[in-house]
Symmetry: C2
Subunit: 513 residues, 2 copies
């Protein structure tokens, strides 16, 4: 089929070059690449080095917005004036002008951390930029991801038929779970206005959001009452499902929580799964925050029954300490996940014969085609550290939360102006100044805002708040969520010390500060 | 509020340490981090250094699957045996055992490339792990992302009211577009079984998939005929919409294409938008592959009318050469995007007052909450290279595709056994061995499979196939999609040389090889 003719080949290149006029340069030479690597590694080193001296803190919100205004630069046809040093300055300021999420003292929202090994995994994946949507395109890389998913499924107590999907985060993982439940339990011709879904007031709002994204109206979402520990009441659940069935509705999905964002509450999974099996509903468990605790023996005990769920979501970028960008969906019978998502396309023709090689292709288990190689950012830290370090770290978080709760309870019992919510079901401890007799809830909330500010300005720990239901109405409540791999005893002791400095409760006459 | 008491503090830490027993170590010391950085940078250097000598190629699929079997290692409680060297070996093999997506000769599917600057942006983002869901949590970083989105919206011809969202890829961006159209044009109580959506046979299957994900049955998706250039026929579109309306259906959305994956066909956007305005439908344009060409003057001319779309998707990980993991949705009237996605949650209470600072929060424009900081992987290359390099690179791709098409046409006219499809509308050239008189389409397909294999085994360029409709039925067709920032004249010349070596067409009596 023809022979190589160098002269003609050179002529042809010359002709094309002539037409193209200039060859744009987006590739970096090796020295340019080294310069960039050096600049970024310098920032990384500075940041990680400073973590030990600065446990939390950073600029105030107003100052942060001011920096954002001052440092935004226009996007021009030319490179940025000042080059890499200017880029470094902006990024350095960006770190300062933001919540200190990576600090050991960061106990706000749900901390993750950002394992450094994952960051280097991404550097590798981005540079080699393999297509990991289909096993045939990158069998070994897809195999490493499948290995991670199979290992996780087993840790959660699932059997060999389970399959999983790594997503960009918990919201997308929960959405894929709802789509899988919809595809398994309903026909495409079901009137989605007649279906009902059950969740509790404590389930993460993104879970309800994933239901409406899937085309189910908000009016089909039922809120099941919770008990004093913020756990979904399974008796009420069953009653509500039966009432809906009697009214001609089509209940098909229960969304339970294995560790709520608010307080870490774990719904009674075994009782709920009994209800679901009896009434033929899909049980999905959102463990975005709490699920990873199954990796520790104590966490596995507390999450007993999670393996009875039809699907589970957990966020490796929370409980496995990864940088933001990785959620995980596991489905007990993987065929349901595959049936919900598998598609075919003409231009993927060349891949068909690779299907039987038994490495699952992510595109057959989820809606994404071109996707970042998410498996490596879990695989590399597991290989580097070993799974035991993750188990121990999670056990440590549970122990630290108990320590914090007991310490805070002692302070409350000793007369400090503190009301500590129930014992931590996972690694979150919630507390507040209690409402004083005759005080408006607004005034109580205001005092708790002052308390939050006092704690956060200490620079030692950084908390956030939520609103929790009480018999007197919802009250602003502080929460310490202990989940960063960098958080240890020092931070718990610091928070207890801050709480120990609080004034006495006005209705505790025996105590004076 | 209390004073620091070091002795009590130390005692408290000691007590907690006693209980926690051991402090797990997931953080890396500086030397450990340097060792890891060195190991990964070595792989990156090797990979990028080898790109120039190896334009395409890699292991065969069977050999790749064999490597996957051989190199998968169990996930254990202990770190991997062999440590970083073993990890390096596995990753090195993973690069070999996969499609050579980063090579200059990779013209298969839709190439991206993997800008090295983006890889270092991710290394930074992962390590500092800022929460960029809400502007208040990281104002400067969110501002950089908003700057990128505003700049892109302007490049597409949108006005000040436009808003955008960076997603994990085109599939998720298209899905968010459908959700926005649904939320804008329909009520939550609309029976989704009665609505209809219009697309062409050439639109990417993920676009249809995004419709069914949103709860609209497949039976509501209408396939509008295409013309010989694979463009959607706007007259047929209008007839189909009117017929559906007359039959009591609720047409609400047209999904047009600005550069199909198959051939790069651009639907007649102005005519389609006229139909949509006349009949009050949402016009979404999927430019996942082709949209980025608006950055070049010639591309902007070819995509004229795209600014009339209600929403546009394009993939920075394709046309802006980023590593996989970034799609982009732009919505002309950003309020619709915000209304479709904005939610509230109790534990975000602390953020409320930050809302008015005029930096859009990604979580208010999309379904994700915790998310990776996608903005930086576009911002950093733009700052480092300047936008002009992107414009030039895209103009070069268009010119290279024309050069390839003209060269292939000359070969066809000169009697080679080639049938070259219509002139490239963007940077994709499709061709095949034509069907011989009396030959079955299966036999023609078989000969084209041999041709693909011949080209790909050359190690100089790497193509993929698709199926295209012809009057004789659908035929396997080779396609060269020129989109990598590393592809230049040399690769086009190499492909033309390979095609020039083909035998003569049997029905071209004047030509003998």
């Amino acid at each position: 089929m023809g022979t190589h003719n160098p002269t003609q080949f050179q002529r042809r290149i010359a002709g094309i070059f002539h037409r193209v006029k200039q060859v744009p340069k987006l590739d970096l030479s090796r020295p340019e690449r080294e310069e960039l690597a050096h600049a970024i590694m310098q920032l990384v080193d500075e940041h990680l080095g400073a973590l030990d001296s600065r446990r939390s803190g950073g600029l105030s919100e107003a100052a942060s917005f001011e920096r954002a205004r001052a440092l935004s630069v226009p996007i021009n046809d030319e490179p940025i004036e000042g080059g890499l040093s200017k880029i470094q300055e902006i990024l350095r300021q960006g770190i300062e002008a933001s919540l200190p999420t990576t600090g050991a003292g960061y106990l706000a929202y749900v901390p993750g951390g950002g394992l450094v090994a994952s960051a280097f995994a991404d550097l590798f994946s981005d540079t080699v930029n393999r297509f990991t949507g289909l096993a045939s395109a990158a069998p070994l890389f897809c195999r490493l991801e499948a290995d991670v998913l199979a290992w996780l499924a087993a840790e959660f107590g699932y059997g060999q038929d389970a399959r999983g999907l790594l997503t960009s985060g918990g919201s997308m993982a929960n959405f894929n779970a709802v789509v899988t439940a919809r595809s398994t339990k309903l026909s495409e011709q079901t009137d989605l206005r007649t279906v009902t879904v059950y969740t509790s007031s404590q389930v993460h709002h993104s879970v309800e959001r994933s239901v409406t994204l899937a085309g189910i109206p908000r009016s089909g979402v039922r809120t099941v009452p919770v008990d004093a520990d913020m756990k979904l009441n399974p008796v009420a659940l069953e009653e509500m499902i039966r009432a809906d069935q009697a009214a001609g509705r089509l209940p098909f999905l229960v969304l339970a929580s294995a560790g709520t964002t608010n307080t870490g509450a774990i719904d009674p999974l075994i009782d709920i799964s009994d209800v679901c099996r009896r009434l033929d509903l899909w049980l999905h468990v959102d463990g975005a925050y709490g699920g990873a605790f199954v990796l520790s023996a104590e966490g596995k005990r507390r999450l007993a029954g999670i393996e009875r769920a039809d699907s589970i979501v957990f966020d490796p970028h929370k409980g496995m300490f990864l940088p933001y960008g990785t959620g995980c969906l596991l489905v007990r019978d993987g065929r349901h996940l595959r049936d919900a998502h598998r598609e075919s396309a003409e231009y993927l023709e060349d891949f068909k014969h690779g299907d039987d090689q038994r490495i699952p292709s992510p595109t057959e288990y989820g809606p994404e085609l071109s996707r970042d190689f998410r498996g490596l950012r879990i695989w590399l830290p597991l290989m580097l550290h070993g799974a035991q370090q993750f188990r121990d770290a999670l056990a440590e978080k549970l122990a630290l939360a108990e320590e914090l709760w007991e310490g805070a309870r002692r302070l409350q019992d000793g007369g400090r102006d503190l009301e500590v919510c129930g014992p931590p079901q996972l690694s979150t401890v919630a507390f507040r100044h209690p409402r004083r007799p005759g005080e408006s809830t607004e005034e109580t909330d205001r005092r708790n805002t002052v308390l939050l500010d006092h704690i956060n300005r200490s620079g030692r720990v950084f908390l956030s708040t939520t609103r929790l239901p009480t018999p007197e109405g919802s009250l602003l409540t502080l929460r310490a969520c202990i989940l960063s791999f960098r958080t240890h005893a020092r931070e718990v002791a610091a928070l207890l010390e801050l709480l120990g400095g609080l004034g006495p409760s006005p209705d505790h006459p025996t105590e004076r500060s």
